[in-house]
């Protein structure tokens, strides 16, 4: 019902009458409508929140041979500090592309991405890398931990690139391991852990540099429902504990339903 609260300008009653007891269908319709409302033309600004991510007229094209694929078309949206946003859509709708553009991992064909007031287009690759390391954490569907590094080293990796002090890093690793429930497993290799534990470790890694934004691409896509729920709970906990803005690309309605807001994409457009 968090979505319903945020979509305060939507005639909820009318939808409930229309769908009756089919809450799931209702929610999906509401999500779609809410996303349209938020994404199109003017984002809705919460009165007391600061914009942390701002996307304007974002377009991304891929060229494969002579074929051009429009992954994103004129997308504009805002995400606010501390928000938990779910980007949903079918496969190929452009949601992962949007996430990567928001993380500065890709360059847009046109349009701008601004994070914490810094517009990516004006940054060199070096500056962008540094900024990303400090400001943004990434979580991937397939975890991508280093198979021959113990968990504590894996979690430490972003700190290595940020050139942070080793002692501080170690402290932070312990703190995060505690937070994600892996403090007993720090000296284990990834292959000795379950999928859920690995993903939690990946989340801890993403949080090592205390980023203000956590971008997660299908974080539960490779997990069973129990572990998926654990991850969602963890995101909630992180948001509460660190005030981190969380943007999750997902097919999973359970995650989407837990988000403050959903942005639904279809064929590169926010609907």
């Amino acid at each position: 019902m968090a979505i319903l609260k945020q979509a305060d300008d939507i005639q909820i009653e009318a939808f409930l009458q229309l769908f009756g007891d089919d809450v799931s269908a209702a929610i999906q319709s509401i999500q779609s409508l809410a996303a349209k409302t938020h994404a199109h033309a003017k984002p809705v600004l919460p009165t007391n929140k600061k914009k942390i991510i701002s996307v304007r007229s974002l377009t991304k094209e891929y060229t494969t041979g002579r074929t051009k694929l429009q992954a994103l078309q004129d997308v504009s949206l805002d995400i606010y500090e501390g928000e938990f946003v779910a980007i949903t859509g079918s496969s190929g709708s452009g949601k992962s592309t949007l996430l990567q553009l928001m993380g500065g991992l890709e360059k847009p064909s046109s349009g701008t991405v601004t994070v914490d007031g810094v517009e990516f287009g004006s940054m060199s690759d070096r500056e962008l890398s540094r900024f990303r390391g400090q400001m943004i954490g990434f979580v991937f569907q397939f975890f991508y931990l280093q198979p021959f590094l113990s968990l504590n080293k894996n979690i430490e990796v972003p700190g290595m690139f940020a050139h942070s002090k080793r002692e501080a890093r170690m402290e932070r690793v312990k703190e995060l391991a505690e937070a994600v429930g892996l403090n007993e497993r720090l000296n284990h290799l990834p292959k000795e852990l379950s999928g859920g534990q690995i993903q939690r470790a990946a989340i801890a890694r993403a949080l090592l540099n205390n980023p203000r934004v956590l971008l997660a691409d299908e974080p539960t896509g490779n997990l069973d429902s129990t572990n998926g729920t654990t991850i969602i709970n963890l995101f909630e906990k992180i948001r509460q504990q660190y005030g981190t803005t969380i943007v999750v690309v997902t097919h999973d309605y359970k995650i989407a339903s837990r988000a403050d807001r959903q942005i639904n994409l279809r064929d590169g457009l926010i609907i």
């Binding site: 993380g103 070096r126 390391g133 021959f148 080293k153 690139f161 050139h163 890694r205």
Partner: protein
């Protein structure tokens, strides 16, 4: 930029991924580099050992032997000389026959001019043509030749100095054959073997005479510097104490003089080495005598032997009449004159014989017997020259590379000889230099120029040598020039060639290793694209990625280098352990075992192998550059998406 410890942590994990490929890369590249390492260590070891052994011989000296065309060869190569000598021989013959006829008449003895062979022989050719040739065996031809040789001597030391001047020679030496103009044989066990000496006049020279180091052409006076590498440490005191003619004997002669039976061809290298060390150790104890006899003395000995033989054969022949003048044999250990055993000549016969002797003396035929017993003291051993049979074997090649030798002759070191007491030396010299102009024409002294470096010596040989195929040498190139004593000049060239070959080999290894490492590292980078993307997502800059892969490459290359060093060193050690004893024996044989403790090790550690290690690392770094640049320029997310 990422810290070095963190870089190492991340780089090291890469080594643990794709282990089989990593191990294969280390093994294959390491094998290639190990070949270079092994070749380097072995070549260093071989050259180091060669240097050690070279100190024993001529190996560190650059001596060029200058061999002039012998006068007899030059003579036969000159049509005008032949005509001139033939004319002179004919003239001498005519004069001699006329003088002999007149003198015989005066002395009242019989003289048949046909007993004097004409100096020119006539041969029938095709189409009824005739040609004449000089009969060198006739006294008048020999006299004409002697006059010619005296007037046209072979190029000598001055010529060598003149043509070598611009190549900066440091010293000059010479060696000339001893020519006694008679019989000169070794008194085996201190005694003459008259039967052998008598047979030496026959056409088939006995084996013992052929092998006699005192035989004409087998003994030479040589500058001490040329013999020095082969002299015993106490050569000078041996000469002084013995008052005998110092002589450096060929190994085989010394072995024989020590009463040692030559080893069979099947003898092992160890046996050969033990023998050669034994010979070297006992060489100073060899003292022997030579017996010189001039033609008359020798004739009397031969007469004594043959007459005694005839008498024995005709013991029961009543019709056999003994010669009127019978010579006996002197005591075998004296080298004395043959005593007259029986002289039943009448007074007239004696008078006639006296007149004949007077007649002969007038025409240059010496009838006075002359003989001298001369002591020799061995002061050196000259390593045996490699025989033809072994020249193609590995051992033979090694011996030819590291060995030093003279011409195979026995040699009297001139300076040591000069230290003999003057009266003795005068007596000996009168015999040892008795050779006439004719024999001098058949053998020319050799001359030697020493240089301070191989380049000068080689340039001198290349520029100033007469072709060895030339019939005779004259003018600006009067000598056939060749490296003397050892292959030090060739060795230097060989060392350069081996170094060059090693460089080429290293080049090939570098190319092959580069291909292998580029492939491996390229694959490693391609496999790591997803990981690169994750690193980039977690804040890695391109330089961080480069540092991780760069360090990974360095670690991989160091492992390749370490593998190559260990394997190459191990192989070189094994080769060394397997062969050094055999090779040491061969090298000792080449040097006569003068230093039995010297070993020919094939392995020598050298800092140059660190260069190979550095090369391996450099190859790795160069190999990773292209794939790495390509990799960091790629869009990591694109790679991740593709996967």
């Amino acid at each position: 930029m990422i810290g070095i410890v963190d870089t190492y942590i991340l780089a090291f994990t890469k080594l643990r991924t794709r282990r089989i490929r990593t191990i294969l890369t280390i093994v294959t590249s390491g094998l290639l580099f190990s070949c270079v390492v092994a070749a380097l260590l072995l070549s260093q070891g071989v050259f180091h050992s060669i240097n050690q052994f070279n100190k024993l011989g001529f190996g560190q000296r650059y001596i060029v032997q200058a061999t002039p065309t012998t006068p007899i060869v030059a003579f036969y190569d000159s049509q005008s000389a032949k005509q001139s000598v033939e004319a002179r021989a004919t003239q001498l013959y005519t004069q001699t026959v006329a003088a002999k006829t007149q003198e015989a008449k005066k002395l009242g003895i019989a003289y048949d001019s046909s007993s004097d062979e004409k100096p020119l022989q006539t041969f029938s050719g095709p189409n009824d043509t005739t040609s004449t040739t000089l009969n060198g065996a006739t006294p008048t031809a020999q006299q004409a030749l002697s006059e010619y040789f005296a007037a046209n001597p072979a190029p000598g030391a001055q010529s060598l100095k003149a043509i070598s001047a611009k190549y900066h020679p440091t010293a000059f030496y010479s060696a000339s054959s001893v020519s006694v103009g008679g019989s000169f044989v070794t008194m085996r066990s201190g005694e003459e073997n008259f039967s052998t000496e008598a047979s030496s006049s026959s056409t088939t020279t006995s084996q013992s005479i052929q092998n006699d180091v005192l035989q004409n052409g087998s003994l030479e006076f040589a500058s001490e510097s040329l013999v020095q590498p082969f002299l015993l440490p106490n050569a000078r005191s041996l000469t002084k104490n013995s008052a005998a003619i110092p002589i450096a004997l060929p190994y085989t002669a010394a072995e024989r003089d020590l009463g040692l039976t030559p080893l069979p061809g099947t003898a092992s290298s160890s046996q050969k080495l033990a023998r050669i060390q034994q010979v070297y150790k006992q060489a100073a104890s060899i003292r022997f005598y030579g017996c010189y006899r001039n033609g008359t003395s020798m004739s009397q000995i031969q007469s004594a032997v043959t007459t005694a033989s005839e008498i024995a054969a005709n013991k029961n022949n009543k019709n056999y009449q003994k010669p009127n003048l019978i010579y006996g044999l002197p005591a075998a250990n004296l080298c004395g004159q043959a005593p007259v055993a029986s002289d039943t000549r009448t007074a007239d016969e004696k008078s006639m014989d006296q007149k004949q002797a007077q007649f002969n003396a007038m025409f240059g035929i010496n009838t006075t017997p002359d003989q001298l017993k001369m002591p020799f003291q061995v002061v050196g051993i000259i390593p045996a020259q490699q025989d033809k049979a072994s020249s193609d074997s590995a051992a033979g090649i090694l011996q030819s590379l590291v060995g030093s030798s003279l011409s195979g002759n026995a040699a009297i070191p001139q300076e040591l000889y000069n230290e003999l007491p003057t009266p003795l030396r005068t007596q000996y010299t009168s015999v040892l230099t008795k050779g006439d102009a004719l024999s001098a024409g058949n053998t020319a002294p050799s001359y030697y120029a020493e240089f301070s470096n191989a380049t000068d010596a080689r340039n001198f040989i290349n520029d100033a040598s007469c072709s060895p195929q030339a019939v005779s040498c004259s003018g600006a190139t009067p000598f056939v020039l060749s490296a003397f004593g050892s292959n030090s000049i060739a060795l230097k060239d060989l060392r350069q060639k081996i170094s060059g070959a090693l460089r080429y080999g290293a080049g090939i290894v570098i190319v092959l290793a580069s291909i292998i490492m580029t492939t491996t590292l390229g694959r490693m980078l391609a496999d790591g694209r997803r990981e690169t993307a994750v690193f980039r997502a977690t804040g890695a800059k391109r330089i961080d990625i480069s540092a991780v892969y760069g360090l990974y490459t360095v670690i991989l290359s160091l492992l390749v280098a370490a593998f190559a060093l260990v394997l190459g060193t191990g192989v070189a050690r094994i080769v060394d352990n397997y062969y050094w004893r055999t090779v040491t024996i061969q090298a000792q044989l080449a040097y006569g075992g003068s230093d039995p403790h010297l070993r020919f090790r094939l392995f020598s550690m050298t800092a140059s192998i660190l260069l190979v290690a550095a090369l391996a690392v450099a190859v790795g770094i160069v190999s990773v550059l292209l794939p790495l640049i390509r990799n960091v320029r790629r869009n990591p997310i694109q790679d991740m998406r593709d996967e």
